[in-house]
Amino acid sequence: MHPPSQNDYKTLLKRAAASLVFSVLFGATLALVREQNLWYSILYSLCIGLICWFCIDVGRLVVARALPAPPGVAPNRNWPGWLWMIVLIVVGSAFAYSSGTLLGDWLTGSRSSNLFSAGSLRESLTLLLFAFVPAVIVTYFFYSRGVLADRIAAAEAAQRLAAESRLKLLEAQLEPHMLFNTLANLRVLITRDPVRAQAMLDQLIAFLRATLGASRLGAHSLRAEFDRLADYLALVQVRMADRLTVVLELPEALAAIKIPPLLLQPLVENCVKHGLEPAIAGGRIEIKATREGEDLLLSVRDTGVGLAAGSSPPTGADPAGGQFGLAQVRERLGTLYGAQASLSLASAPDADGGTLVVVRLPLKVR
């Protein structure tokens, strides 16, 4: 058990104010219906109503703090469950009716019938209903407001989380180091070779458009995927010059197959960042699409430094290395194709070395 927070006190005060307003309205309504003195009716209603609020709402806080929260209720809700609340409402409204009436009598100097002086049990119960029914109504009102507030808070939290993960994905795709280096090269080309600068700018625009639109687009053709990868690699090639050789192989028969947009982008980026850029002599990147039975195989291979050595990033580089990119591709495959798709990462099997990633997709989604 921990002491109530400032927020709990705020809630209590708000509910006290709401109970006060409700009591005034209830007293006035009762006076009109029963043709009684308006001020006396409001005064009695206030006395009973506020004691009722005190017993039920403060009682709720005390009980909820003392007991573990019931299943499915957040502890900060301070809701002990309906069973406890009914006990609190019955006891609280009975006590509030009798003591509120006494308080009203004392304030007005008159004497009204109370629970015990009423003629019969039936009469006592009828009187009690005047406190019990409003107490149930007001408690239910507060309860549903609390539930609503919780739902709004949960929805907002979920929205924040989704926005954060979208931002993280975008940041990973628009790797800042790559972007600033590309811009630095572009800045140099503008004066030295304006024609090449323009071509490079066009590739950068195509790359940015594809990256920013990838999350909105459901699927695009394998041809479009290879074109975007070619744009990206052309940008890298400006930076790495003859240290980078690019081989793209897409058979015409497979060009129209739809795949999730920029699925291979993180894999190609890993090859460049962790395989080829760290290699003094650079190397080759090969991206190929082949068909194997009912499956589409997409392979991304580099002849860079390889898995063991490439995992040591230079100072200040992201500590996660290529893990984020791989995890992201796996997650997309899992969501879209389930167990039908797979991704394997291994050292390239031939003498040129480097790494080989193979993505296997079903041609027909079951």
């Binding site: 800042p176 180091h177 972007l179 600033f180 280096n181 811009l183 630095a184 090269n185 572009l186 800045r187 140099v188 080309l189 030295r192 400006v238 930076r239 790495m240 010059a241 240290r243 850029e277 760290p278 290699a279 003094i280 650079g282 063991a308 050595a309 995992s311 040591s312 230079p314 100072t315 200040g316 580089a317 500590p319």
Partner: protein, 271 residues
């Protein structure tokens, strides 16, 4: 007497950017003589030691050795009695590195290189060079440069991801994986893509870089004494200086001597 022209080395792997930095420097500082332009870290170290320029411009991310590792190697292997070069780092986007430069008060230039910024850097470098040349003892400014380098290395070390300390080294020999308790390791020595793990009785090879291993070692017990060597401090019997002023460590349980680079020599002082 005419002052000698200031000389520089540019280490940048992207050819366009290297050429552009070169021409910008020539525009802003016509007397500056660019001795060489290299494309990776190893070449930067080799050329710096061979040509001994006054300034070295180092890209942070280069194939092979990165800019900071290259700076460390230059600092360690620089011949005794010669003035260390002034270092300027060049980077596109590297929050951790930038923090480290600020911390160590080392010059850096951001890519794309902005002329105004580069001009300011040139003015600062000219002033620093003039101060060094006016100083009576080159060793004083070298001490300051080494201290700067030390604090840069310490600051980039902090940026490394924290890991829990290792308790055993798992090293494979043939098909067997040997478990070597960390307390038995007297020192680690980098060898190409491997680290040699030395105990009193034998040596093991593990395939990991020293940079990856270091954060996993307890810094109070394992001391880095060279860019390629980390020694267990209670394995050291004595620290000796040879006639050329180089410091070497004698070990309790092994015959070989270990060299201490000038970046770490300050660790071995009498109490």
């Amino acid at each position: 007497m005419s002052r000698p022209r200031a000389t520089a080395l540019i280490a940048e792997d992207e050819p366009l950017l290297a050429a552009s930095l070169h021409s910008d420097l020539v525009d802003l500082w016509p007397e500056l003589q660019v001795l060489a332009q290299v494309g990776h870290g190893e070449a930067a170290v080799e050329q710096a030691l061979a040509l001994r320029p006054d300034l070295v411009f180092l890209d942070i991310r280069m194939p092979g050795l990165g800019g900071i590792e290259a700076a460390q190697a230059i600092g360690e292997d620089w011949p005794e009695g010669h003035q260390l070069p002034l270092l300027v780092f060049v980077t596109a986007y590297d929050q951790y590195a930038l923090q480290a430069f600020e911390h160590a008060a080392i010059d850096y230039v951001l890519k794309p290189v902005h002329q105004d910024r580069l001009a300011k850097t040139c003015v600062r470098l000219q002033a620093a060079l003039a101060a060094i040349r006016a100083a009576p003892h080159p060793s004083d400014s070298n001490a300051a440069a080494l201290e700067q380098l030390r604090s840069l290395l310490a600051a980039t070390g902090i940026a490394a991801p924290p890991a829990s300390p290792l308790t055993v080294i798992q090293a494979s020999i043939g098909t067997t994986i040997h478990f070597v308790p960390i307390d038995e390791v007297l020192y680690f020595e980098a060898a190409d893509k491997y680290i040699r793990v030395m105990t009193a009785a034998r040596e093991y090879l593990i395939r990991i870089s020293l940079r990856q291993l270091l954060p996993q070692l307890d810094p109070r017990v394992y001391w880095q004494i060279h860019r390629g060597t980390v020694v267990r401090c209670d394995a050291v019997a004595a620290a000796l200086r040879d006639e050329s002023g180089r410091m070497q460590l004698k070990l309790r349980q092994r015959p070989e001597l270990l060299s201490v680079s000038r970046l770490y020599a300050h660790l071995f002082k009498p109490m």
